[in-house]
């Protein structure tokens, strides 16, 4: 009997995630700044993640971070730490938390939150300077997973 209940719970959880799809930005659960489970429910694609990191209209991470592994992309910033070796310094769950909302890990950091949609002061409509009509996270759940998958390859 105990076993059936457990089995039921487990299948309910599995079915739940399958139906619910990606975790919404409001319902992400942070534990010490880290996020345990995939935001999209799927695994990330490192090559797409690399592209997101170097593309201005997407992650634009290299505006602030440099990396030897990304040396082919032009213009690396110095505002944040060099990304080489982050796959050793942090776990996958920690990296997910840092990308989704870096303020959960580093209090007061200048690093933007890429999976957050509320709590902003005068949010704009992209980079037009006009007020926002609708706020989407800067990156989607799957894009975050892709970025995390790429960062996990950055080992010394």
């Amino acid at each position: 009997m105990k076993q059936t209940v457990l089995g039921l719970v487990i299948s309910a959880v599995i079915a739940g995630t399958a139906i619910a799809g990606p975790v919404s930005p409001q319902s992400v659960v942070y534990a010490d700044g880290a996020v345990a489970a995939s935001l999209s429910g799927a695994t990330g694609d490192p090559s797409s993640g690399r592209e997101i990191i170097i593309t201005k209209g997407q992650g634009n991470c290299i505006a602030c971070h440099a990396s030897e592994a990304l040396a082919d992309a032009a213009w690396h910033g110095e505002v944040g730490p060099v990304l080489d070796g982050v796959g050793d310094r942090w776990s996958e769950a920690e990296l997910r938390g840092i990308i989704a909302n870096a303020k959960m890990m580093f209090e007061g950091t200048v690093m933007p939150s890429f999976y957050k949609t509320d709590g902003f002061i005068r949010p704009g409509d992209g980079y037009t300077g006009e007020p926002a009509t609708q706020i989407d996270p800067i990156l989607s759940a799957q894009q975050i997973e892709d970025v995390v998958a790429y960062l996990m390859t950055l080992k010394e």
Partner: protein, 281 residues
Amino acid sequence: MRHMIAALCAATASGLALAALAEPDDQSLAVDGVELVTEIKASDEHPLDMLYSGWRFRTDETQALQTDDFDNPAFIFVEQAVDAWDTVEGEAGKSCAECHGAVEESMKGVRAGMPKWDAEAGEVWSVENFVNRCRTERMQAEPWKWDKADMNAMAALIGLQSRGMPVDVDVSGPAEPWFKRGEEMYYTRYGQLELSCASCHEENYGNMIRADHLSQGHINGFPTYRLKNTKLNSVHGRFKGCIRDTRAHTFKPGSEEFRALELYVAWRGEGLAVETPSVRQ
């Protein structure tokens, strides 16, 4: 092992590159042989220790354009304003020159103390407000639009008459609430990127952000000629762009908010020489 050494070397090399860039350069600025202060110890109340003009963060090529007025592209616009100064416009049949005489005399020192409290308006006013008061009330002409060519050229001509003088604004008395409001704005993290002026210009000056070498964000060189858009850019135009770049709903040039912010940012650059018209990338 080879790999590790290579990685270490690379790390050291980029570490050196960062260290070199992390500071303003050590050049000194002389325009047509006259020295301008681009570095000065800040007052005790200032959040920074040393103040550096934005000129010190630019490339040698961009810096050079500002050292000789013949090479400085801003002077094409200054010349236009010299003409406008003498041009009769509006119902009253007057030019700026008819009331003010020679711009070199009457406008000397004006920019160094801008923006400032205006008792009649009961507000802190930027130089643009004063220009438009003359145009509408004394000349009975149309006001000029903020951050547009005519206005920016006249602001550059007026600013030039203070070149070399230290920035020195009055933030006391009725101007104080404006100063406080500007200070609060300076530290507000606007937009979806949640970045304040301080995030870039106080915490990260000297660092590269993408292709830009971050300065302390002073306004002593404004209006500034930008190679990027090949025209003069006003203080409020720059503020608007910096806030827009945080994915925020920005403020309008001429707004109360930007005049308050201008007063506070001018104060942050007190003691630096007015460099108007400066040249930036």
